[in-house]
């Protein structure tokens, strides 16, 4: 152990006295900060109401503090304390306006994640805590609550011949969803635990229908997402509310929305049409976490420049020794070659991590602050997530440095090692995000190459109930953050093991 301490000190001394190494590592951090600052300063957004400039509208926040989309048609009354709402859904239809290929017709089709069903909500305010049991367009019955939680019930679709009964039971903070095909035999769908339901809640029927998404190849590479207005119509009967509920008429709210499209103005307005026992409700919108906004990791745009600089620094830490013959001296001083390599890896990895940490710890808060000042909506994330982005990205930089060092020891020639290191870290990102590579391969590239580690940067997860296209171009990685990080750790470890083996086997 003491020997390792000496070796560590020796490696650090060599590293810091090798011309330009520390300067370059510092420059890498400064570059990331500067490019991030330029990028943030150059992004502006403003909104106007007529001639007057106003603050841009921001999405509502859900109970968990995340930005949400909360738009739907709500037919509701007040329920005090515990109770049960039951209804039979006999039809769920919809329209999609002007879909491809020609964008010239209105197509009668229900959007896959359109919902019609029962809801218990803290109030009619967008973003309020809720639990909703609904039939979806094509994904069967779903019990969702507080935007980020969802469990699936039975699959299938509804029609007059095959209606679906839905029941939502409130007992305190617990809501239990049931479904049935005949109104007699009930199956439990799941239990929801909304975070902030007051004693007195709004209970009733709702219909939502998110935009119809298609994806096209972008002209500069990457992909372009298109969204079209859709509307869904659900037909309910046998509606009952048991418990201390207010009687009388239903209250009607187009929560988070207003009839703005030509379809709603001239063809079918959103709302409720009651005919006897039968309630027909039309509505549009999405109830899900919102991903419309700036993802905070976007300010790390200069990361790849800094990374390439640090790759060169790490490679030189070993290839410079080979070129100048210092390696022979090094190995005489530390005959245990594996230990020498380990000491080098610790020094280079630590330098990479510290440079990365300085870069991210400055760039992320400063960049986000500047962007918000420029009127850009940066999606809010929990502090833990922001810390994970900052520290995780720094750790990725450290690991890539170790990987580059190992490749330097394997190839013993600077240019070859630099090419190899860049080809397995930066190039996969480029191919996955900024080229004409098909998306299937993009996802694989970010799973099975060291570039998978960049997943620690992703601040906004993909929620199962969010509509949209979550591609690598938009900053969505195929692996969860720590899984991607583990892949990079594996590659760095493997490369280091190979380098250690070759160092012992080969003549220095």
């Amino acid at each position: 152990m003491r020997e390792f301490g000496y070796l560590l000190r020796a490696e650090w001394t060599k590293f810091r006295t090798l011309r330009g190494q520390l300067v370059a590592a510092t420059a890498a951090a400064v570059l990331v900060v500067l490019l991030g600052a330029v990028f943030a300063a150059g992004n502006h957004s403003s909104c106007s109401e007529g001639p007057k400039e106003v603050a841009c509208p921001t999405p509502p926040l859900g109970p968990g503090g995340e930005a949400v989309a909360d738009t739907f048609y709500f037919v509701h009354r007040t329920l005090s304390g515990d109770g049960t709402v039951t209804a039979r859904l006999t039809s769920l239809t919809g329209v999609i306006t002007y879909p491809p290929p020609n964008h010239d017709t209105i197509v009668p089709r229900v959007e896959g994640l359109a919902r019609a069903g029962l809801m218990v909500k803290a109030g009619a305010r967008p973003g309020a805590s809720y639990a909703a049991l609904a039939m979806t367009g094509t994904h069967g019955v779903r019990l969702a609550w507080d935007f980020t939680h969802e469990v699936a019930g039975a699959p299938g679709r509804v029609s007059g011949a095959a209606p679906r009964w839905l029941r939502l039971v409130r007992a305190g903070d617990t809501l239990t969803g049931y479904e049935s095909v005949d109104g007699h035999r009930w199956t439990r769908v799941g239990v929801a635990h909304p975070a902030a339901l007051p004693r007195s809640v709004q209970v009733g029927l709702f219909v939502s229908s998110p935009g119809d998404v298609t994806v096209e190849q972008g002209s500069l590479g990457g992909s372009i997402e298109q969204l079209r207005f859709t509307q869904a119509t659900g037909v309910f009967d046998r509606v009952s509310v048991a418990g201390t509920a207010a009687g009388g008429d239903w209250r009607r709210d187009y929560v988070g929305g207003h009839a703005a499209t030509d379809w709603e103005k001239y063809h079918r307005p959103p709302g409720l049409v009651a005919s006897g026992d039968r309630l027909t409700i039309s509505g549009s919108g999405e109830i899900a976490p919102s991903t419309d906004g700036f993802h905070l990791e976007g300010v790390l745009s200069g990361l790849y420049v800094g990374l390439i600089v640090l790759i060169v620094v790490a490679v030189l830490a070993v290839t410079a020794e080979y070129r100048r013959g210092v390696i022979a001296t090094t190995l005489v001083a530390g005959p245990r070659r594996g230990t020498v390599l380990a000491a080098k890896a610790v020094v280079v990895g630590a330098v990479g991590f510290v440079a990365g940490l300085v870069a991210t710890a400055v760039t992320v808060p400063v960049g986000v602050h500047v962007l918000r000042g420029n009127g850009i909506y940066v999606l809010p994330v929990p502090l833990g997530t922001e810390l994970r982005v900052v520290v995780g990205t720094a750790a990725v930089v450290g690991l890539v440095s170790v990987l580059a060092l190992a490749l330097g020891a394997v190839f013993r020639r600077g240019p070859v090692a630099v090419i190899a290191a860049v080809a397995v870290t930066v190039l996969p990102v480029l191919l996955a995000t900024a080229s004409f590579v098909p998306e299937g391969l993009s996802r694989w590239l970010l799973r099975i190459t060291p570039a998978a580690g960049f997943a620690v940067q992703q601040s906004i997860p993909v929620y199962p109930n969010a509509v949209g296209h979550h591609s690598p171009v938009d900053g969505y990685y195929p692996l969860p953050p720590w899984a991607g990080f583990a892949v990079l750790c594996g590659f760095a470890g493997l490369a280091l093991a190979l380098a250690g083996y070759l160092l012992r086997r080969r003549d220095a």
Partner: protein, 258 residues
């Protein structure tokens, strides 16, 4: 000049690794094309992908090895001190750089041609499995079609320009590892940066300065109107980068102590 050329050719041809790098150019280009084309799937709406561009995707990896070859030719000499001998033998330093550039460009053109042809061949074998067939209205890229010849020739030209950029960078920074990092950063970072900017005007502006994006515009045979520059204008931007780096490289080589 002839003797300088001969000398440069001898040095590069006998340097350890040249043969490997040439093999690497062809292998890397063909391998990436094969991997990408094997994963293309036409959707129900049709094949929106440009088959010619797909057939030459591998150039994006092959260019890194081309840069390695050019850096070996120039930077290697600075590392070993061989440059002093070279300049003693041929005291006109711009002649040395011109000879190096000629030899590297010639070798890259030859290796690049083989790589591009191999890439097209691989694509012709792989693409039909993805639904790119004449029957579907997507004829395979063929050297009898004008667009494909233009793209293939443009790809070779682009690789030669990358070699010149790398040669100039290596002469400027005089360290092969640093030069490699600089060249790869110049090639690979701007295309990623284009997609990190949200403003479309900024995107286009950045794109027009990116040597890789502009240089590879010539690979496209469809959706040409969407590109900010035509293929030849794009190659001119890449050539501009090469000239902008070669001139100071020549000046510094002439006036600096090696």
């Amino acid at each position: 000049m002839r003797r300088a050329l001969h000398a440069e050719w001898t040095k590069l041809a006998t340097a350890r690794g040249t043969a490997w790098l040439i093999f690497g150019i062809v292998a890397a280009t063909a391998a990436l094309t094969a991997a990408v084309d094997a994963t293309v799937r036409c959707t129900a709406l049709g094949c929106d992908q440009d088959p010619t561009r797909l057939s030459l995707t591998g150039v994006q990896l092959g260019q890194a090895v081309v840069a390695g070859l050019a850096i070996l030719a120039a930077g290697g000499e600075f590392g070993t001190g061989m440059i002093r001998t070279t300049l003693l033998a041929v005291p006109r330093r711009t002649t040395v750089l011109a000879a190096k550039a000629t030899v590297v460009a010639g070798l890259t053109a030859a290796a690049g041609t083989v790589a591009v042809l191999a890439s097209l061949l691989v694509a012709r074998l792989v693409l039909p499995t993805a639904g790119f067939t004449a029957a579907h209205g997507h004829p395979l890229p063929s050297l009898t079609a004008g667009g494909t010849v233009r793209a293939a020739g443009g790809a070779v030209l682009y690789l030669v320009l990358v070699a010149l950029i790398a040669l100039a960078t290596a002469t400027l920074v005089r360290d092969s590892a640093v030069a490699t990092g600089a060249v790869l950063a110049l090639l690979y970072v701007p295309p990623v940066a284009v997609f990190l900017v949200s403003d479309p005007d900024w995107q286009t502006w950045l794109w027009r300065f990116s040597p890789m994006d502009t240089g590879l515009a010539i690979l496209s045979t469809t959706h040409l109107a969407d590109l900010p520059l035509t293929g030849w204008a794009g190659l001119a931007v890449t050539a501009g980068w090469a000239v902008a780096l070669l001139l100071p490289a020549a000046a510094l080589l002439a006036h600096r102590d090696p």
